[in-house]
Amino acid sequence: MSQVPSELRYTKDHEWTRDNGDGTLTIGITDHAQEALGDLVFVEVPEQGREVAAGEACAVVESVKAASDIFSPLAGTVAEVNGALADAPERINEDPYGEGWIFKLSPSEGSAFARLMDADAYARCLDDE
């Protein structure tokens, strides 16, 4: 059973979102997603400063067997990206909720975070799969 930390929010597409409490959100892919993809060999992070819509494809993770788009869970501006993934994409496999974060977002609407799926709902999603 993969980890689903309770303090995070989730999407059906297996992205997680953390509220940093400073007006930014951190986004990555879930433990389940990294396990399904297998060993990651490349991550294309979004451009810093890019404006993204909710559900817009803005990053790509590529494993030895597949490439997947990462969708921004919410609308906003890309505040920071995890540049370390360029040389070490395996960080996502090793620590999907920590060192393997992908980008930080300044959401255009502060309350939108609360409307994302909570850990229980995401865990039920995984059970259904």
Partner: protein, 465 residues
């Protein structure tokens, strides 16, 4: 590697498993009016002897004219061993080898081809080829627009001095993706691209500048200056290059301060016969930073489980069979057979041989130009240096002159009038290493006679009594 089609029994067995009666039922989704149906106009089958007679007659109709046309496809010497080797059973397939365990030879050839192309262009990565030079340019433009993520510009500056067919093909391929190709005029005196001509088009952001070297007129562009100019505006630089010319000219990866970002072109001059226009092969190379934007097959060198070197297709996650609709391109194959010929051709010539071919082409074309311009009224249109083609102005309509020359068994050049009416009566001539001194002398003599009959006053018609 045999490719064995299914027998009717096997087809019936497979249909039975999925519960379908007829193969056509699987294509129900495609509306009837979009189906090709029966192909009309195909004559009844001929026996081998009849086909032989027909083809011999058609070959005779072509004749064996002296060819002074280049314009994108070039009549170079191809050593006999090239196609002798290509036709070996182990290599004689145009198809991409998916099964690395059964295709080491083909994969190694693709890898060698890529290595040779990166050496010629001085760039980091090459793919295993595309359909032809024009479609390679279209893919290069799509790459540049994709890579321009920050600026999001969808304009690309394309000089009017670039091959007209390349411009047309690129436009046909990219226009549905909402990409604008902006045509930049050439300098009327030099035939080249200048910063002054470019400046008015740079007031809005653009994703890339295309630089042909040489351009369609054979004229050498100021690649260093143009590359620096475009990159200073935040745009990428796409070089469209002749692979033979690269033996003498500075490679795209060394243009300007930072080098061109992408280089593409037509591989036909490397061991492929003219063959009425194809099939040829395109090449496409880029800097490492753009590697994941590069479409098409890439063969890589790796180690097997026992630690022995081997070859396999790599970086396939960019491709259609993995990334589906979000693949870098719908290009899903390469010109395997022609690339095999190009690789063998280049391996035979070596760096020195290629340089000698390039130098001979340049020298022959200069000799040709000097000989033809001895006829009054025939003169170079542009004053810039050329590689192995030159645009000449004629004192009579180009189509008429070329028709008269053809009657003398000479293909005298490419009529520039259709694509560049602004040049007046003008032809583009080329003499590769294949044209001997006496061929050039023959052409010059015939041209002088043809021009004379069309320009000189006839004999006085008024009889004196």
């Amino acid at each position: 590697m045999p490719f064995i089609p299914h027998t009717p029994d096997q087809v019936a067995a497979m249909l039975a498993v999925i519960g379908v009666e007829d193969i056509d039922d699987l294509f129900d989704e495609i509306p009837a009016d979009l189906r090709a149906g029966e192909l009309k106009g195909i004559p009844a089958a001929l026996p081998e002897m009849e086909v032989g007679r027909l083809m011999a007659a058609r070959a005779r109709a072509d004749g064996q004219p002296l060819c002074f046309i280049g314009a994108g496809a070039y009549d170079h010497h191809i050593p006999a061993v090239v196609w002798q080797l290509v036709a070996r059973g182990e290599l004689y397939s145009a198809y991409t080898p998916y099964q690395a365990e059964a295709s080491q030879g083909t994969l190694q050839i693709l890898y060698e081809f890529q290595s040779m192309m990166t050496a010629l262009t001085a760039l980091d990565v090459s793919n295993a080829s595309l359909y032809d030079g024009a479609s390679a340019l279209a893919e290069a433009i799509l790459m540049a627009v994709r890579a321009n993520r920050h600026g999001k510009a969808r304009r690309v500056l394309v000089p009017r001095g670039l091959h007209p067919r390349y411009r047309a093909v690129a436009r046909a391929i990219v226009r549905q993706q909402d990409i604008e190709l902006v045509e930049v005029p050439f300098d009327p005196a030099g035939g080249h691209l200048t910063r002054e001509a470019l400046a008015p088009f740079a007031t809005e952001p653009f994703a890339a500048l295309v630089i042909p070297q040489p351009n369609f007129f054979g004229v050498l562009e100021e690649v260093d200056l143009l590359t620096d100019w475009a990159q200073a505006q935040g745009a990428l630089v796409i070089g469209v290059v002749n692979p033979i010319a690269l033996a003498l000219l500075s490679p795209p990866g060394e243009w300007g301060q930072k080098g061109a970002d992408i280089a593409c072109g037509e591989a036909q001059p490397l061991g492929m016969p003219l063959a009425s226009g194809g099939p040829y092969a395109g090449f496409l190379c880029c800097k490492e930073a753009l590697m994941r934007q590069l479409p098409g097959r890439i063969a890589g060198r790796t180690l097997d489980l026992e630690g022995k070197p081997g070859f396999t297709l790599t970086l396939q996650a960019r491709e259609q069979h993995i990334r589906r609709s979000r693949a870098t391109s719908n290009i899903c194959t390469n010109q395997g057979l022609l690339v095999t010929a190009a690789t063998i051709h280049l391996a035979l010539l070596g760096a020195e041989g290629l340089e000698r071919v390039a130098a001979a082409c340049h020298a022959n074309t200069r000799r040709l130009s000097t000989s033809l311009c001895a006829t009054p009224g025939v003169e170079p249109i542009f004053d810039r240096p050329c590689f192995h083609e030159q645009a000449l102005r004629l004192p009579a309509p180009a189509a008429d002159v070329l028709r008269s020359l053809a009657a003398h068994n000479i293909l005298g050049g490419y009529d520039l009038g259709t694509d560049y009416p602004e040049l007046g009566p003008a032809i583009l001539v080329c003499a590769t290493e294949m044209r001997a001194e006496e061929d050039i002398a023959t052409y010059a003599t015939k041209l002088a006679r043809v021009i004379a009959t069309r320009t000189q006053a006839r004999c006085p018609v008024e009889p004196k009594f």
